[in-house]
Subunit: 501 residues, 2 copies
């Protein structure tokens, strides 16, 4: 039994290293690769993806799982090996349903469409992306069709990133959230607009980067096991326990953009850096779901990083870095500006109140595309019309419309967006649990100290990696399931103080 387990772990480590190598290639593609490398890079990444996939779906894995089942059954439910074997069994049973040829096509298509998108977005060139996105849609459908018996064609894709959720569950949650959000947005946007003009003064890039790095170090992001680089669209990526990297982008005419991207990606990285290193190379070595992952990025970006306590500590430091730009701006003015609620075009720059409306648009459009009720060629129009009706603004061009988000242009259509809103819900749930245990957290944040909050998250969430499914983890941490009210309460309280509600 010991030998079988060792053999399995050796095989898993090899797959994990192949995936890590593919991730290094992808990181390089988005950070430093010269344009001439694009074609070969897609081919190289596709090869590594295929080799890992072939190893993962090798019948030998199934035999080892069968041989190890009695061992798994003999262990307590929450034993690491038991959890690992359970998770592996799920993944294995799922992926053996997918033909290698399809995955190879997907692995080949992803870096190629991503590369095209990095050029087409700045050029506002929807026509170039349309056929490529049609291919993505086709591949996404074929992938979903490997799992017949679904209720909705998006379900297998949603299940990929948020295990245990179906389209119908997401829709129900989104409907409840929307019901709470719409009147809140209305009440706020009827008021006199907050002045945030000073946000758009000139803030030199390096000083912005240095300031953000100082904060995420205080959060607990370990630069000995990570680094930060610039990319088109910020992300977090993990090559090993000891190498968890983030990227950001900076606008010199917007002091918020780079900073909050940095805090967001650092939240993802804290999660990955906090996973039990003994899980390295196993299916447990990664955040358990997109939603739980986003709960951390959104927590450190917003719940912490846009709070009054946080800026009570950091604002004088920011003023010291940018004296000319911020001398005439008070802490209150700044805090209101970075929390200004307003209808806007870009999801990742949206305020906390309207943010989820952006996500809902994408989610609905994903489902419509998959169902076939919306064709790719009609996406720009559908996108713009939903922005007009839901947010009250119309993108002047596709660059800030349906071309804005990397996800459809680098992975699947379906399963890419619901995690953001699930994450917002969970960030409020988890944070209120952390506060119950440690009411001193806000005052510590006010001193630039994050150890208690970080420690609580590590203890309750991070260390477990994928040992528990998202529903299991939420149950363990909160004593219940996913809830909409904590986020609405958080938003009503926070924005009740910022605006007159």
């Amino acid at each position: 039994m010991e030998n079988k387990l060792q053999e399995l772990k050796t095989r898993l480590l090899e797959m994990s290293d192949l995936n890590a190598a593919a991730s290094v290639l992808s990181w390089d593609q988005t950070t430093y690769m010269p344009p001439g490398g694009a074609e070969s890079r897609g081919r190289q990444m596709a090869l590594l993806g295929r080799l890992s996939f072939e190893r993962f779906t090798d019948p030998a894995i199934g035999h080892l799982l069968d041989d190890l089942q009695p061992y798994a059954d003999s262990l307590p439910q929450d034993h690491d090996d038991s959890a690992m074997l359970r998770k592996l069994r799920w993944d294995y049973e799922k992926f053996i349903k997918v033909p290698v040829a399809l995955m190879t096509e997907i692995y080949g298509h992803s870096p190629m469409i991503y590369q095209a998108w990095t050029e087409a977005r700045p050029a506002n060139d929807w026509k170039r992306m349309q056929p490529l996105l049609e291919k993505t849609l086709d591949l996404s459908r074929k992938f979903a069709d490997c799992f017949p018996g679904y209720e909705h064609i998006a379900d297998p894709l949603i299940d990929q990133s948020d295990y245990g959720m179906k389209a119908t569950d997401v829709r129900r949650v989104f409907a409840e959230l929307r019901e709470g959000l719409v009147p809140l947005v209305k009440a706020i946007t009827e008021q006199i607009a907050t002045d945030d003009s000073f946000i758009y003064r000139h803030f030199p890039q390096q000083a912005q980067l240095d300031f953000g790095i100082g904060i995420i170090k205080a959060y607990g992001y370990d630069f000995n096991r990570g680094r930060q680089d610039l990319t088109h669209h910020p992300f977090m990526t993990k090559f090993a326990s000891g190498d968890v990297r983030i990227t950001t982008h900076v606008k010199e005419n917007d002091v918020r953009d780079g900073l909050f991207s940095t805090l967001h990606e650092a939240g993802h990285a804290l999660y990955e850096q906090g996973i039990n290193p003994a899980y390295e190379g196993t299916p447990l070595d990664g955040g358990t779901s997109a939603g739980v992952h986003e709960s951390q990025s959104r927590l450190w970006e917003n719940v912490v990083g846009r709070s009054r306590e946080f800026w009570g500590h950091y604002y004088s430091q920011l003023q010291a870095v940018f004296p000319d730009q911020l001398r005439d701006v008070s802490l209150d003015q700044f805090h209101r500006a970075i929390n200004k609620v307003s209808p806007s075009l870009i999801r990742i720059d949206a305020d906390e109140v309207t943010y989820n409306l952006h996500v809902m648009i994408r989610f609905d459009l994903e489902l419509a595309l998959l169902e076939g009720s919306l064709e790719v060629k009609d996406l720009p129009e559908a996108w713009n019309s939903r922005y007009a009706s839901d947010i009250g603004v119309t993108p002047p061009h596709d660059q800030d419309g349906c071309l804005q988000d990397v996800h459809w242009y680098s992975g699947f259509i379906g399963g890419a967006f619901q995690g953001y809103t699930l994450g917002n819900l969970l960030s409020a749930q988890f944070y209120s649990k952390a506060l119950e245990a440690h009411p001193e957290i806000p005052s510590e944040i006010g001193q630039g100290k994050f150890d208690t909050l970080h420690g609580w998250m590590k203890e309750n969430i991070y260390q477990h990696g994928s040992k528990f499914t998202a529903p299991e983890l939420i149950q363990r941490v909160t004593g219940g399931g996913l809830q909409v009210q904590p986020l609405l309460n958080y938003l009503r309280t926070k924005y009740g103080e910022l605006y007159t509600l």
Copy 2:
């Protein structure tokens, strides 16, 4: 036959992509990887190396080669497919003699000892490196012993990088060269030392980098298919025809160091960027030998980059970048300073005259280590005593002694150094051939124009990749074999003008 050839090329492309992926991981290790990534990175690179090696030595390759032999025989000698099949056959017959287990050990050891070296060299920690270098020696010997029947144990290692050369050939060439160099060094160093104190003024890093980039662009290095980053020890690496990168290092208290490293690596990169892109993914897609490769790095670094014509054009530009540092320095003073001949400690910073003496020390020590007449533990002393006797200086510490060069600390002992001197010899041979064809080259260099020289090298050398062996290529280009006299003539002429000889 068509199908077999296609199958072979598909397999070769896959191996080439695995090697490229390993190279990306290695590039990242030396440029940006955080310290925490070291352990997993070694494992990941070893895995990719092993997977490529297993594919390369798969008996199926042998069968395909056998099946394709009649096709190869039916082609003219200089047909691309014929050359490719011939080269592949050599490599295949060689590598099937090496056990996968040994290669796996080598692939695992290399990144590990490299990582240790990057820490141990600055810390002057020979004790840390000694056992690791003993392991390298052991692996190098085991590798050589896969090819019984050698004349000298270094022969299989030399043959790896400089096909067709044996230890005895290298020794004969080195002896002839030394005979010419020693009196030249003596005649020069008896004269009053050149003043080069201004070289060590403060030259800010970014300005140095920008200046170097301007020059290598003029050389013809294509940044759309490459880039430059900073590393501990400069190198060139290729991931595909479209992605050929170089690295450099800069000292702010030495204006030569970064610049000439940049020109050197750009020379390697011009070669790789100039290879027929149709060879991508085949064994022809790479420079044909270490010696021919070094002929290009040393040509663009020295023959071009340290010439009077070159600085006649560039010196005023350098003065414009560093006015305070160089206002009081004339073109002649500068040109003499960057060509100052003096006994020194560091190979890569050595002048053109003494440089080859540095190489000879390493070559002799490599051979002694492999033979067993020198033990690793005695290397520092042997190194220092050879520096005292051959160069006339004694390293004050191992950091600038036997720890200085990356090669033993990242690859094999044996075969690593002779290529540098062979390259110097060939640079003089090739350059004099280029001058015969285009006497206008020096005056073009004097105008900052390099197209004729670059074009001649591309036409005669670069485009062919590994289509011809080094001896074949030298024969084609020069009409004869490797010669010592052209380098001695070049040095005597150049230094005859700089010094009174």
